[in-house]
Amino acid sequence: MKKNTEIMINVLLIALLLAVLFILERTIPSTSMLFTVLKKGAIYALVAVSMNLLNGFTGLFSLGQAGFMLVGAYTYGILTIPVDQRPNVYMYFEGGIVQFALHPVIAILLAGVAAGIFAYLIGLPVLRLKSDYLAIATLGFAEIIRAFFQWDKLGPLTNGSNLLRSYPSYKSVLFYFIFSGICIALIVMLINSTYGRAFKAIRDDEVAAEAMGINLAHHKRIAFVVSSYFAGVSGALLAMYQTSIQASMFKSAMTYEILLIVVIGGIGSVTGSCISSFLFIILSEWVLRFLDNTTYIGSFQVPLLRSGFRKVVFSVIIMVIVLFFRQGIMGTREFSVSALLGKKKKAKGGEQ
């Protein structure tokens, strides 16, 4: 029964959160920085959790996330640009070869499917590799995907290295929260299922996991494809949020950022990834903005403050976390209402 009350409290909290967002949207001008932060935070939370599913829960050190986001973003753009806009967007490719437009939600789901298919194919060779070799191979594949999408021979489909734009997008922050929230909930449910237990077994000890009857290849593939599916979905959401996309956005630096979000939140903690995504976005897009502005106090120019300083401070913070707080914010624990109230501590071994 205790479990049921906990679920009730969580449902109430979520309802409350959505209600607050709903009211905010009606009271604060939509150009407010708050909404930028919330939307981007929700998108990054999803991709960070999807990366955590691989790196934190299955022990597969993959650095391909940006590549799968790219596939998702492009799939979304290609499938939703209204037919009458296509001659404009695909101006160098006679309007492109796709001459239909799908409903955005369907396109987002297909964006995930496309990323999942890419992941399946890439996984066939690379999932046999171990730790750092897997990292470098997935990073390499992400680069190949990027080159492939920019290839002018594929221009009629991808618009080559030109922008994709004019596709429809939802403006409400609620949409991003609900969509990303459902996806994260699905990942959590997967982690808590018997498959999730198998993933954790593989993370802890591959040889022992195999001896327990877990098929390594099969389960690694599932984790890789599912993670990429959600990376694709988040890519589609990112495309929607940004209203235009270009392959050159999805560089390995993007994967590094997501990885660092996961590390800050705690490798192996879903709530950690979510919290740290919002923190990351709030700090980088909002709070630390002042560091980028040349500031005068009276006639005294505050030293160091100018464009780019924010990112330097930011990277130093990250290095401090990586070096001295290796557990990140949450370690492998999860944030929960009951833990907060101190009723029942479900913390699982902080040290690793």
Partner: protein
Amino acid sequence: MSWLSRNLPYLMAGISVGGQYALIAIGYTMVYGILRLINFAHGDIFMVAGLIMVYASTVMPIYLSIPLVLILTVVIGFTVERVAYKPLRSAPRMSVMISAIGVSYLLQNLALYITGGLAQQYPAIPWISDTITVFGVTTKRVTVITPPLVILLVVLLVLLIQKTKIGMAMRAASKDFETSQLMGIRINSVISMTFVIGSFLAAVGSLLFFSNYTGVTPTVGAMPGLKAFVAAVFGGIGSIPGAVIGAFIIGISENIIKGLGWTTFSDAFTFALLIVVLIFKPTGLFGEAAADKV
């Protein structure tokens, strides 16, 4: 003959850039050999060496700024290891790799801050940057002097590793990290030495590389860095001759691909090569196989 004269520029550029990759690749392969760490920040050290040259040359003559670049780069490489990798010696390998990615992120953002995001013009180094004509192809002298210089440095390095005491310690450490410690090898100085050599060669590589491709941007190190890493894997990670040969092969191949008009795929080719090598011959051309103990 017309085919040759048409493709000779690409071939020469390939050999030259291959040599520059080789100098970076040695840093990767030596560090990996001992620490089993992909030093993601190595490419950025190379970039920083380029930036130091840009700023140094504005305040002092070239003949002073070149040694300064070499010294400062070595100091930075040494410091990075001491600050970001040494504290994690007993941590899981993944943590060290994440730290390396963090350093790379930091160096790139620092460079972004200092340069203001604008590409910096690399100074012309007298003699090296002069234009010459070889076999009817107009090029910079650096293209021609890179291969012999690389070979000279590699020979010196191999001699260092084979003949000196510190070289012997390095070989021991890369064979078996723990045991070599038990045998009284001061592992920290061996590792520092590895980073010093790696950074020095990266600095030399940057002098040659930027004499040809003169724009220094904060992310300019990432691609050559990754390619040099691929070269190291291709040659068999841990093997210095392997890294050098791998680097030449990659440099030449990517320039031939550019010559064929497939520029978009010249970077992708490198990674495709990496993946093929990892799948079919994970130990590379000259690597030694190691079986996992169960």
